[in-house]
């Protein structure tokens, strides 16, 4: 069973040299901490920055320099600022190679729900709908089941959708799963100590298991 850092660490392995990556709030943000040295990656922040650096040292926070989560950040040599319209332009034009974000539910055909729970205060979708509608490669970091133990990997999402047929891969505390073009969660790896059976029980959507499923190596 993976903790949040474990999920982030596993996702970091999907980040290839030369990628431009957009990281959502939550677990995805942690992915940046696990990108191996020697892998050159540029982080895009959709409020208008390519080349997001780490948080500033205490006392060096700059109100004019924040990320899409409104956190104070820094730049790196080669960073570039641009206006929001160009930022979403490059997102729509699929120049960002990988988008990693959280989800409340994912369906077996790759639909994602992560912005709204009926009956609860709606805060808005921010840039998530633009990102999921455009990104070529979307990995979702999420919990496999909710607090009641119910699967969040579903045949069909029950919550209002953020985007359709867009998620390519899901990494949970239990497993790594690819979403196949024709639909279905294909089990790729098990988390340490998690059995195929446990994953089957926690997955409501169609689960595809072919051959022996390896335990992931972190």
């Amino acid at each position: 069973m993976l903790d949040k850092n474990g999920i982030a660490k596993r996702i970091a392995r999907e980040v290839k040299d030369g990628y431009y990556v957009n990281l959502g709030i939550g677990i995805p943000t942690l992915v940046a901490n696990f990108i191996p040295k020697g892998i050159n990656v540029v982080l895009q922040s959709e409020n208008g920055l390519l080349g997001m650096g780490p948080f500033p040292y205490e006392g060096e926070e700059n109100a004019d320099l924040i990320n899409a989560g409104k956190q104070t950040i820094t730049t790196l040599p080669g960073s570039v600022f641009f206006d929001s319209s160009l930022s979403f332009g490059m997102i729509r034009a699929r120049k960002v190679n990988l988008t990693i974000l959280g989800a409340m539910e994912v369906s077996e055909r790759g639909d994602i729900a992560n912005w709204k729970i009926p009956g609860k205060m709606v805060k808005g979708m921010g840039g998530a709908m633009d990102l999921v509608a455009s990104a070529e490669n979307i990995i979702v970091a999420m919990q496999h089941v909710n607090k009641a133990g119910e699967s969040k990997l579903l045949k069909k999402c029950t919550l209002p959708l953020t985007g359709i047929r867009c998620v390519k891969k899901v990494v949970t505390e239990m497993a790594v799963l690819d979403i196949l073009p024709q639909g279905g969660f294909k089990l790729i790896e098990r988390a340490p100590g998690i059995s195929t059976e446990q994953i089957r029980n926690a997955t409501e959507g169609q689960l595809i298991i072919e051959g022996e499923i390896p335990e992931m190596v972190l």
Partner: protein, 237 residues
């Protein structure tokens, strides 16, 4: 050059009236037109429709206008940080139109580019698409569905820049650029407040974000608080 300078914020807002639609620059509290917002509170204009990515926090940014119930309708992508906003929305006092962030900024930009409508895939298959015209296009071999989204019609755009010259040319600093440029070009009348107002010729003409032709009034703001919403740091060492 044409001189766009006004004496102060009150002169800049002289014809701002109840019931108008305004674009307000900034992302969270970063790059918001602090002086203009304060003056709008003072002026007491009501029933505003505000197009802005966020709605400020309770005691800063657009939150100040919400406290005084000056906003009738909010068009935004994310409104999470504001208890008074939540109260007014749940009570039905405040209309809220949530728009995907890229759609929001592109609808501002479209106005500035003289494009009455644009196509975007954002929101296809979601409740955002309800009642909207959609259509499939194939680009670079990929067929996709797109929504038709209309350019915003805003009576005024209120933006904040780092420096500006009296001809209205604007430059922004770092991520305070955010929505400000797209709104500066998208407003029918654009009012810019700047941290530093300089003479024509002092800004490098190669590196101006918003050409002065889009800016109708400009003034140097004062007392910038530039509040930080999420102060995140790392330790030295």
């Amino acid at each position: 050059m044409i001189n766009k300078t006004v004496k102060n914020v009150d002169e800049a807002l002289i014809d701002v009236k109840d019931g108008i639609t305004v674009m307000v620059g900034g992302f969270g509290l970063c790059g918001i037109p602090e002086n203009i917002i304060a003056a709008l509170v003072q002026k007491g204009v009501k029933n505003l429709t505000c197009i802005s990515n966020n709605a400020g926090v309770d005691d800063f940014g657009l939150g100040l206008l919400l406290q005084k119930k000056q906003i009738k309708k909010m068009i935004a992508s994310y409104v999470g940080e504001n208890a008074e906003f939540e109260r007014q929305m749940l009570s039905g006092e405040l209309e809220v139109d949530l728009v995907p962030q890229g759609t929001l900024v592109t609808r501002c930009m479209a106005a500035g580019y003289g494009m009455p409508a644009i196509y975007t895939p954002a929101g296809v298959g979601t409740e955002v698409a309800l009642g909207k015209e959609s259509r499939k296009f194939t680009f670079n071999g990929i067929e996709k569905e797109y929504l038709l989204e209309y350019a915003f019609e805003a009576d005024f755009a209120f933006v904040k820049a780092w420096k500006g010259d009296t001809a209205g040319n604007l430059i922004y600093r770092q991520t305070a650029l955010n929505f400000n440029h797209a709104m500066a070009i998208g407003g029918k009348i654009t009012i810019a407040e700047v941290e530093e107002l300089v003479e024509p010729g002092e800004l490098d003409p190669n590196f101006i974000h918003t050409p002065g032709i889009y800016v109708h009034r400009i003034f140097q703001g004062a007392h910038y608080e530039k509040r930080i919403e999420q102060r995140t740091t790392r330790k030295r060492g």
